[in-house]
């Protein structure tokens, strides 16, 4: 599923980033451009969840 609609990012894309070593909240936010003003801010607020997905700790959301 799409995790971030502002950036059009899927769950798998975030997992892939994690595999490439983008694992901490700051790096993820930066890599995905979540600090840009055209983002709604939802993902930045939920960055812990995104981080957990990158770290492979979340079972597929749409299971």
């Amino acid at each position: 599923m799409y995790i971030c609609l502002c950036r059009g990012i899927t769950e798998n894309a975030i997992k892939r980033l994690g595999e490439e070593g983008v694992l901490c909240p700051n790096a993820l936010a930066c890599e995905l451009g979540l600090n840009e003003p055209d983002c709604c801010g939802r993902c930045l607020k939920n960055i812990e969840r995104l981080t957990a997905i990158a770290q492979g700790q979340v079972r597929s959301v749409a299971g």
Binding site: M1, A62, G63
Partner: protein
């Protein structure tokens, strides 16, 4: 008319879920159209429009109760990448909606607002039907496989 305690709050919560659902179903419908799944496109689009009618009713009722409809708030729109994901995410949204409506019905009973209660009960009935429809689709997919199911969706509704 002055609202009973907490009723506008309940209605606004349902409205939030509803506005979210309108967008979720609408984008799912358009994705299905883009993939050529005519049948699903129509069905899901219909669903989005019926949510819009609910929003119409909710906003009207909130105004009638001298409340302010919060059209600004939305939950996260859960967009699936495939039809199967979409169905599962829509099911989740409908189940959450049903919980919200049930809580609303309980609250309205407590504060004796029977008009609002009936409205929420009608909406819950609709949600029940939709849940039933999605569960049938998921069961069919389990039985015939997703490819066969999708092949059926390409045809126009006759």
């Amino acid at each position: 008319m002055k609202a009973k305690e907490g009723v506008v709050n309940v209605l606004n919560k349902v409205l939030t879920a509803d506005l979210t659902a309108i967008n979720q179903y609408f984008v799912h419908a358009k994705m299905c159209e883009n993939w050529g799944y005519e049948r699903l496109h129509h069905k899901v689009r219909e669903r989005s429009i019926s949510e819009m009618k609910d929003a119409d009713e909710l906003i009207g009722h909130i105004l009638y109760l001298d409340g302010v409809p919060n059209v600004q708030r939305m939950n996260a729109v859960q967009v699936g990448e495939t039809v199967l994901e979409q169905l599962k995410l829509d099911l989740k949204a409908e189940q959450e909606m049903l919980t919200l409506l049930s809580e609303g019905v309980v609250h309205c009973t407590k504060v004796t607002d029977f008009t609002t209660r009936h409205m929420l009960e009608d909406m819950a009935e609709d949600v029940d039907e939709h849940i039933d429809w999605i569960e049938t689709q998921l069961e069919t997919i389990k039985q015939v496989g997703v490819e066969n199911y999708l092949a059926e969706q390409i045809k126009k509704e006759s």
